[in-house]
């Protein structure tokens, strides 16, 4: 993975920008330019709310090379409130508190570093929805 890859993905990973199908109105994430529902071209950007719930989850104890620093960490499939599933890490939660159906919201966090001289990659993670203070 190189710097151009993260640069290309910045709208998706920083702001959860996907697409909306101009024909059937489906919300699409990750963006794929072709509506999975009606197979029509779908280029119209759509920014997701970032709210959803845990659809499935696990904890990675034996991470791939480059991800050792934060292990063990929780990852999940999140069902976004607009419909699509998204794969992401969970944060601000102990892995044993995670359960299917847990309401979560997107936050921007550090995903990984590429050594002392390398880039730091930021992107979306999901945390349990915070209770409103006011």
């Amino acid at each position: 993975m190189g710097i151009p890859q993260f640069w290309r993905l910045q709208r998706q990973t920083y702001r959860l920008v996907g697409e909306m199908c101009g024909r059937c109105g489906s919300k699409i994430f990750p963006p794929r330019d072709l509506c999975p529902e009606c197979s029509q071209p779908a280029y119209e950007p759509y920014t997701f709310s970032g709210r959803g719930e845990v659809y499935s989850h696990t904890t990675v104890h034996m991470p791939p090379e480059g991800y050792e620093e934060n292990a063990p960490y929780a990852v999940a499939l999140i069902r976004l409130e607009e419909g699509p599933l998204v794969t992401a890490q969970l944060t601000d939660v102990s892995p044993d508190e995670v359960e299917i159906g847990l309401p979560v919201e997107m936050v921007t966090r550090k995903i990984r570093e590429f050594g002392e001289d390398g880039i730091i990659v930021y992107g979306y993670k999901f945390r349990p929805v915070l209770e409103r203070v006011i």
Partner: protein
Amino acid sequence: MRDVSIIGIGQTPVSEHWDKSLRHLAADAVLAAVQDAGIGRVDALYVGNMLSGEIAGQEHLGPLIADFCGFRGVEAFKIEAACASGAAAVHVGYVAVAGGLADVVVVVGVEKMTDEAGAVVTGSLALAADGDYEVPHGLSLVAINALLMQRYMYEYGLRHEDFANFAIVAHQNAINNPNARFHSALTLERFSSAPTIAEPIGLMDASPIVDGAAAIVLCPTEQARGFTPSVRILASTVVTDCLSLHDRQSLLRLEAAEYSARKAYRQAGVELKDIDFFEYHDAFTIMAALSLEACGFAEPGKGTLLARDGEIALDGRIPVATMGGLKGRGHPVGATGVYQVVEATQQLRGHCGENQLPQPRLGMTQNIGGSGATVATHILEASE
């Protein structure tokens, strides 16, 4: 289209082969298969492999292995389809012979995984998943299977122990396979107390990281008469699905496995009930359950019942993993699909020793790439 038969098989033990390079491992299997067939000429060589570039630092396997085996000059190249690379290579060999472009084809699946440490292998295997939307979030292939298994257990109200018999049967069948990685029985206690890799997947749900190579020789059935006992390939199908779990229409239905099997039944002109045994893709116990359901051996959510009730044992309704499967024999990823076909051929020839089924006529193999994005199914028939 010509009918295609298998006239030779070869395999190396599945093990940690620190003393052998990838080319030596492949050559051992290829030359064993060529000797088994007793042929002197080869028209093409197809290599199933996933990780040679990542782990052995070697691509361009076609000419490397062809030349090393003494077939310099033949058509030869690598076929990559993640964990389904082996069966995808068998499919290419089948197409070449069926289409009349080649008469004698060797297919070899080879993988060397133990030269590198765990985290490197884990990272390399993750290349089977989506490099933009799964891998950058720290997912391993184990984690992806764990997401499937967690949801499956939630929807069908299952416990981890319900999956134990998939692994126990695999270990039991591997004991009598001299080429298997494991020769020890697995108990429920050991299954349950194994360390967790990614909840709910424990070490004993997962197939081991190993080295191995397996090969077959194919020719048109009309030319296979002199080669006994030959085995006919009645069906060879490859079907794909979305690469990543989050894009699937239905998470707990392996649609590619379903369509691949259905297409194979149609191609072979057989029905589910005609299949005598099933070499399935038990890379993880959840894959065993999903594969049985996709092929129609169990209703959705009921796959584990086949294991619980002993129906997948050698004397059960649908014997699986008859030589140990991925869990017991081992899962050298790009070689696995060819091992499955080699073992099915052994069964149909009646050469499985203690594990021999009583005169099986039809065997099915299913090789699954990634979390179900590529699925290759083969149906083989014993010669008269």
